[in-house]
């Protein structure tokens, strides 16, 4: 790998540093001061801090922050991390603007009438008083706090932010929205096959001789992974990209396959059949480390042909055969299984088919190989903020609560539990849940109106709630549908710690600047609420009433983290991020799988017990209910609803578009850049159209984003809450078939 080395000598650097006296940089004005030359840049003019991007991205970049006079001047990628490699992404570099954004929520505010926009500033004390009194009222009227719901997901994965869940437990047993809209079908699939979701170190992709990127778009969603794919290619690997959309990643591959959406399972099984026929199966792997391969082979022989796969997918027979053979004979070969391809009613089954394809060629457990999906190997924190005790005498739900994929607590022995409802059916859950009703909702690290499905229904559901409290940085649509908004800190204003579900680096997040305005971190909010609750009703909340966020961050570390990352103490991370020491860069390198049999299970009885097929059999996709397939993937300028709203981002991304094939547009009399209306049974959304053959003729594509500043664009006006096949086993609730959506379009 070419490290990003500067081409200039160190001697010159030192000369420059010695000469530097004046300010190196004057943002916003007179960019080149003095008579002739700008002063030389000198790191010594700044205080530097360590931060990390907590926003649910593969890359979870390690950030180095330059502060002067208490203001973040600029940031860069931590040079110590070989993954981040000194750079961030377009979103990351916009962070410098975030704490100072004029659109930020600055103070606690109360809205007189939801969606009225009539906000008035209140003090923290007033806001918490209203909230605490409502909570106490619920408890008194319902006999429990199950009427209090909490919805939180991936807006901030800094470990201390699990204090939101901790705060809820401190109050009693509450109602939790569990599951994940993101990746649960694939998590379950990998758990059935291998006993866990565990991927190779992405940095070892450089060793691959063959790379299939299947339903992932790292050029937009994991930019730092692209250098490994490019390096593998430079070393001679062939890169095949499989995606219904000709993505930016596809444009960088050797071969692009555009199969019919949701036909991935058929395609993988067709390749598997051809590999079987050609005798290219890794017999050593399937005999010694696999379970049920013979049954799988029988299934393939009896039910699958390459011709059938070609018909299902639209990829010609000869291409399927060619890539299958090349994949099976390259050593090592790897498949990156994206989260996009499992957001279907057959997504889990499709992931299992792809896993099987990688396993039968002996590439699972191999460096440079692997069925790469994600991992939680480095998430072994104490979850001190999360694990809190209910107050004495709390009443709750009788029966077990489902847990989310990031819940690492061991089972509780209490007779009561929280009540769990499906996060992917948020609107329906609020409408349907009774005894007691969900009457009050706490939203943090999440923007349900931008991310939860069936937005029109969600509005109805929120209208049923008696009080909505949202903790956020910006006045988004969820805030508009709330009664109280509490301002929360950005990464620069709080202490926490971050790891990735993709790479193996650990970063500390330091408080680089004092919290702006009246912002508080999630755990500080929990402490303040606890104080208020105990003032009003002593003993009603067990969360500590005074906390030091740095101390709480420290409490998340333990010896096994130190051992894994070869550090003596968390303070070592102030010198730069650390990487986990791995026996091998390959997941499952010892071929000891975490399945019931300890083998790779081509046939999983557990999977069958949970209502699916034991073998990775083909499962048909969702029935089409409207003219076009509607895809709503991520944009490169944002992460879900975050970042796109920043004015800095608007400089490069001014408005949303709908992408459509020119032929389909011609039939409807739609021209490039026309304003169109996309509509289906859920709702409608207007935007201008861009004509492009990057999408198939029967497809409409709209990127999810929240633009802020009066732009009402929202793809969730068109996405219903149909479930994916898997997800309940490990994530608490099935995933959602985000890409199994259909719609029609006309000129607006």
């Amino acid at each position: 790998m070419t490290a990003k080395k500067c081409t200039f000598s160190r001697r010159r650097f030192l000369q420059g540093a010695a000469a530097a006296g004046a300010a190196a940089m004057l943002p916003c004005s007179l960019l080149v001061p003095g008579k002739a030359e700008a002063a030389v840049f000198s790191e010594g003019d700044y205080q530097t801090f360590r931060n990390a991007c907590p926003r649910n991205c593969y890359d979870t970049c390690s950030i180095k922050t330059y502060v002067r006079d208490g203001v973040v001047r600029f940031i860069e990628g931590a040079p110590e991390s070989t993954f981040t490699d000194g750079g961030l992404c377009v979103k990351g570099y916009a962070y410098t603007r975030r704490p100072y954004s004029p659109d930020r929520v600055k103070y606690p505010m109360v809205q007189d009438g939801r969606r009225s926009g009539k906000w008035r500033r209140v003090s923290w004390d007033e806001a918490l008083d209203m909230i605490a009194k409502k909570m106490l009222k619920l408890k008194e009227e319902d006999g429990s706090l199950l009427g209090l719901g909490m919805t939180k997901y991936s807006g901030n994965f800094g470990i201390t932010n699990y204090g939101v869940e901790g705060m809820m437990s401190s109050l009693g047993y509450t109602t939790r929205f569990v599951g994940t809209p993101c990746w649960p079908a694939g998590i379950d699939a990998q758990n059935y096959d291998m006993g866990n979701m565990w991927c190779n170190d992405p940095e070892d992709m450089v060793k691959a001789k063959y790379v299939i990127v299947w339903g992932a778009n790292p050029a937009w969603c994991s930019v730092h992974s692209m250098k490994y794919i490019m390096e593998a290619k430079r070393r001679g690997a062939k890169v095949v990209v499989v995606d219904p959309v000709f993505t930016q990643t596809a444009a960088k591959g050797d071969v692009y396959w555009q199969p019919k959406t949701a036909s991935d399972g058929a395609l993988a099984l067709g390749m598997a059949r051809h590999i079987l026929d050609k005798g290219l199966v890794d017999e050593d792997f399937v005999r010694n480390y696999g379970l049920g391969f013979d049954e799988f082979a029988d299934y393939l022989r009896n039910n699958v042909t390459v011709e059938w796969a070609a018909e299902q997918s639209g990829i010609p027979v000869k291409d399927i055969m060619e890539v299958a053979e090349e994949f099976a004979t390259a050593d090592p070969a790897t498949i990156w299984i994206g989260y996009g391809m499992q957001r279907h009613t057959n997504g889990g089954a499709s992931v299992r088919s792809i896993d099987a394809l990688v396993a039968m060629t002996g590439n699972v457990g191999k460096e440079g190989g692997g069925a790469r999906y994600g991992h939680l190997q480095t998430w072994g924190f104490n979850y001190h903020a999360l694990i809190q005790k209910q107050p004495e005498g709390s009443k709750g739900f009788v029966g077990g609560a489902a847990k989310g994929e990031f819940d690492f607590t061991s089972g509780s022995g209490a007779s009561y539990t929280d009540r769990t409802v499906n996060i992917n059916k948020t609107a329906q859950a609020i409408l349907d849940t009774t005894d007691p009703d969900i009457r009050m909702l706490w939203v943090s690290c999440k923007n349900p109106f931008a991310q939860d499905f069936d937005r029109p229904k969600l509005e109805k559901a929120f209208d049923k709630l008696e009080m909505v409290v949202t903790v956020d940085q910006f006045f988004n649509e969820t805030v508009a549908n709330s009664d109280i908004v509490l301002p929360v800190t950005t990464l620069f204003e709080e202490w926490t710690v971050n790891v990735s579900y993709w790479h193996y680096w650990l970063s500390v997040n330091e408080q680089a600047i004092k919290p702006m305005f009246e912002t508080k971190s999630n755990i500080e909010i929990a402490a303040a609420l606890s104080k208020k609750m105990n003032e009003l009703a002593p003993g009603s909340c067990t969360f500590p009433q005074e906390i030091d966020t740095k101390e709480w961050m420290e409490k998340e570390f333990n010896q096994s983290i130190y051992d894994m990352f070869a550090i003596n103490d968390w303070t070592d991370l102030r010198n730069g991020p650390a990487k986990a020491r791995l026996k091998s860069s390959a997941a499952w390198s010892d071929h000891k799988f975490a399945t019931p049999s300890g083998k790779y299970e081509f046939k999983s009885e557990l999977c069958a017990q949970n209502g699916h097929k034991a073998l990775p059999e083909f499962k048909a996709g969702r029935e089409r209910y409207d003219k076009f397939r509607l895809l709503t993937p991520h944009t490169k300028f944002g992460l879900h609803s975050q970042f796109v709203n920043l004015d800095w981002m608007h400089e490069y991304d001014k408005e949303p578009y709908i992408y459509m094939h020119p032929k389909a547009a011609a039939e409807k009399g739609i021209g490039d850049l026309d304003m169109v209306r996309v509509f289906n049974k859920v709702g409608e959304q207007k935007a201008r159209v861009k004509l492009t053959d990057n999408v198939a003729e029967d497809c409409l594509l709209m990127y999810e984003a929240w633009f802020g500043r009066g732009n009402a664009y929202n793809v969730q006006n068109l996405v219903d809450d149909e479930s994916a096949d898997m997800g309940a086993f490990k994530a608490g609730a099935p995933g959602v078939a985000i890409h199994d959506q259909f719609a029609n379009v006309e000129r607006a």
Partner: protein, 186 residues
């Protein structure tokens, strides 16, 4: 040949991610509407798929800069030691001559300062032995800093399609052209 620093834009590697552009903004905090580095998608006549190949462009630090030649108050200098074309904003009277005469649209009008400004190849970083902010940020090494005096030519071009051919100015940026994959579509 004298030392001449230049950007190498490898469009085969460039993923159009706009990281370089935002890294520049992160470093200099340009006022609203002022963009020093922009990432331009190539039109479909040049690359057959919309918004899938890009040119990342800032000032080209030309050998014979139009901006410098038209400036009435000598607010521009071309650095002897490395060919970087620097705009000295404190001297600028905001006449707009440079903005009108640069065929690459590099100098921009700053409505707050009422003066021009542009990329100066982060010369204060160069002098400290660092890469320009945009180059350091590029996740695929598609944007690189080269010295034309020492640069060994392979497959680069000076005037790719879509980029104005200005031989008089002799812009220093060099490009590697993008490729298309084999397409298997239904």
């Amino acid at each position: 040949m004298k030392k001449q620093y230049a950007f190498l834009v490898d469009t085969e590697r460039c993923i159009g991610c706009f990281t370089c552009a935002m890294a520049c903004r992160n470093y200099y905090h340009q006022v609203e509407g002022v963009v020093w580095r922009q990432v331009y998608p190539l039109s479909e006549e040049i690359y057959p798929h919309r918004e899938r190949a890009f040119l990342s462009l800032a000032c080209n630090h030309c050998e014979n800069p139009a901006c410098l030649n038209v400036c009435p108050v000598e607010a521009y200098t071309k650095r002897e030691e490395d060919g970087v074309v620097v705009h000295h904003q404190e001297k600028c009277i905001g006449c707009g001559n440079c903005i009108r005469s640069c065929p690459y649209g590099a100098p921009k009008y700053n409505p707050v300062e009422k003066r021009a400004e542009k990329c100066s190849l982060c010369h204060e970083r160069l002098d400290a032995g660092l890469n320009p902010a945009c180059v350091q940020a590029c996740p695929t090494d598609a944007l690189q800093l080269i010295d034309l005096a020492e640069f060994e030519r392979t497959n680069e071009v000076q005037y790719p399609a879509g980029y104005p051919r200005m031989e008089e100015l002799n812009p220093s940026t060099r490009f590697v052209l993008p490729k298309t994959p084999k397409m298997v579509r239904r």
